[in-house]
């Protein structure tokens, strides 16, 4: 990169490293450094605590891998893994499918597109909010709208929120409904696909389904991949929904005991902060493993346009 013509020009002499401009530059990025300190220090503190029996009140003792070993014999830990996996692997594909479907509908040149986009996006802005989860509880309550609607078809009342068989389903439906942010990204991606590809395909006699399979999906695959990774990570970290929905208990019968909810309960309610830290690192490993696997698989189905 050393172009003699440029280096000889007195635009940025070495002296300037200490110029007032540089200092103000450093000053401006100082908040970032401070912010990083707030991330990095707890990061390493939690790594250390994961190997201790820290109970919040006393000095932590080093206990090696005991916390990690403990997890495998902890039924509730397994339950929390199960809940989180079921939630993620059911709701992520469905919400991405819903997002893509709606994005394609909106991409057909509807009038008042910004309005629809906003309407569909709204739930995902509110998705993790306390108010929305509470509202959801009322909608799915024993005398809520959903049961009233089902009653219309002669279906008996279902206790969506207090029956261990349905509580997680209710939260999965909530998650699917908040497909707005992947939808907006899909919409942007769809707009990038040149219309001439479809015209050419139409002339060649390809029907809509074939156009979708052969043009839309391959060209959109990097976007699908991005949305998939994003959704997976955020879904593994679900907390608010389970916490608010069950009043912080993960019930009924631990059926909404998300991994992070259990972690929180261990740390702050049972005073097992060491164990909670170990759980946090285990979650990091799980997420890293799934993300890595996705990158490996991505080679087979994600097409980059060069």
């Amino acid at each position: 990169m050393k172009d003699p013509a440029v280096s000889e020009a007195p635009v940025s002499p070495p002296k300037a490293a200490k110029s007032p401009q540089d200092r103000s530059g450093y000053l401006f990025i100082l908040p970032w450094f401070i912010g990083m300190a707030f991330t990095i220090i707890p990061f390493f503190a939690s790594l250390y605590l994961a190997f201790t029996d820290y109970n919040l009140l006393n000095v932590p003792n080093w206990i090696g891998l005991e916390n990690f070993a403990e997890m495998f014999s902890d039924d509730t830990w397994w339950q929390s893994v199960k809940v989180t996996f079921v939630y993620t692997f059911v709701s992520v594909p469905l919400s991405l499918a819903a997002a893509l479907g709606v994005a394609m509908l909106l991409n057909r040149g509807v009038r008042g597109l910004p309005v629809y986009r906003a309407i569909f996006y709204l739930p995902s802005l509110l998705g993790g909010s306390v108010a929305l989860v509470l509202l959801w509880r009322y909608i799915f309550g024993l005398n809520g709208i959903v049961n009233a609607f089902l009653g219309f078809f002669g279906i008996e009342k279902i206790s969506w929120t207090s029956d261990p068989d349905y509580a997680l389903t209710t939260l999965i439906i909530l998650h699917i409904w908040t497909f707005g942010s992947p939808m907006v990204i899909f919409l942007a991606g769809l707009k990038q696909i040149p219309a001439m590809y479809y015209e050419a395909a139409a002339i060649d006699g390809a029907n809509k389904w074939q156009q979708f399979r052969k043009i839309t999906l391959p060209l959109l695959s990097p976007i699908i991949f991005f949305n998939l990774i994003q959704s997976l990570i955020s879904s593994f970290q679900t907390f608010t929904q389970g916490f608010i929905f069950s009043g912080g208990k993960g019930g009924p019968a631990n059926s909404t005991m998300f991994y992070n909810l259990y972690l929180y309960k261990q740390g702050f309610e049972q005073f097992h902060m060491g164990y909670a830290s170990a759980m946090a690192w285990m979650l990091l490993i799980i997420i890293a493993a799934f993300t890595g696997l996705n990158f490996l698989l991505a080679k087979r189905w994600v097409h980059y346009d060069n």
Partner: protein, 433 residues
Amino acid sequence: MISRRDMLRTAGLTGLGLAVAACGRGFGGGGSEAASGKIELNMVWWGDAFRAQKTQAALDLFMKANPGITVKTEYQDSGPYKDKLATRFAAGNPPDLMMMRMDSLREYADRKSLLNLNDHPGIVETTNLSQAAVNLSKVGDAVYGIPSGLNAIGYIVNKTITDQYGVTIPDGATWTWQDLATFAKEVTDKSGKKVYGTLVDPATLANLVVYVSQQGEDLFTADGKFGVSEATLTKWFQMFEDMRKEGGFPPAGFVETIGSSPDQSYIAKGSIASQIIPSNGFLGYNKVSGGNLVLLGIPGEATAKRRGTNIGTPALWSIAASSKHPKEALQLLNFLINDVEANKAMGTTRGVPASTVVADAIKPTLEKDDQVATDYLIGLQKQTLVAVPPYPKGASGIQDELTAVAPEVEHGRLTPAEAAKKVIEAATKALSQ
């Protein structure tokens, strides 16, 4: 109330404290604030805006009487309170005076985080406290706080509903669990299932402990083990499942945990005729249920092996062991417990005052419903009750397991016997950690 001997003892302890605690955080420490002549105490508790208003009124009296001390309070809902308190201790910044949950008491006390009041005699006057009240805050011989108010669980029945359907309310002093079942079924039947007879949460430890004691067992043994047998737990779950089958109890899935305040309760909505409440909630429940509630004792008290009902407290007032101003915090504690005017200002938002003298003094100033609850509690303190040792470390794990299995029994996924087995396994594990 400080005698000369107490003063000397205090002075001695001060010296000792300063000598032992190298950081100078002993009794009477915190010189910098003292030099400026203003001491700030931090006091935290949980509750609502109504309680805040009443608490502030009492604190204003305290600050007026003690011009050198300001009290800064913080409060929040009971859920977040627990986490925030733990975090503050972890950060080395505990409040001076705090409301301490009974099920967290030993978590803190056993780790030496709370001030043992026995080490600082002469400031907090406890002679007017009933034995039941003193027992609540004892861990072994140490005393880690004073009950912020006393309560007990009681049974409320909505008389408007029973009158409407012509059901007689049983005698609250002598009724049995079988009487409850019969009564509940009658309400359900006569109302044509518009109103269910009763609702008891089998997962609430405060309910279970009464039943367990009636069977002659202890929830926790003196050495901190889980004292409940599988048979008793099985009977406990079975009893409610039988009521559900007969109709006195609402069907599975009926109960949705939306909130725990009186106005969100099923008795307020008129879909349940009776339930268990903490006695200090009587006023609140009566207000939202149409004002015609009757307060009864817990079933089985007169006929069981021994008494089950016990004096409890929603929380203790405790002081952090590392408080910079323990003397002032103790003064404030004493004021909250023993000052009549302060308690008139606070009313019974935390239960009936622990001091029997104060309780008697403020009774005439209370609303009628609060007087009913106060009488219920004063009456109980005069009876012989079975004391419950403080919850051992890890006890919250038992509550978690109860919360988890109860809906499984309700929905028929576990038999009462299987649920009992699971609770015992979890309890043994939680308490051994």
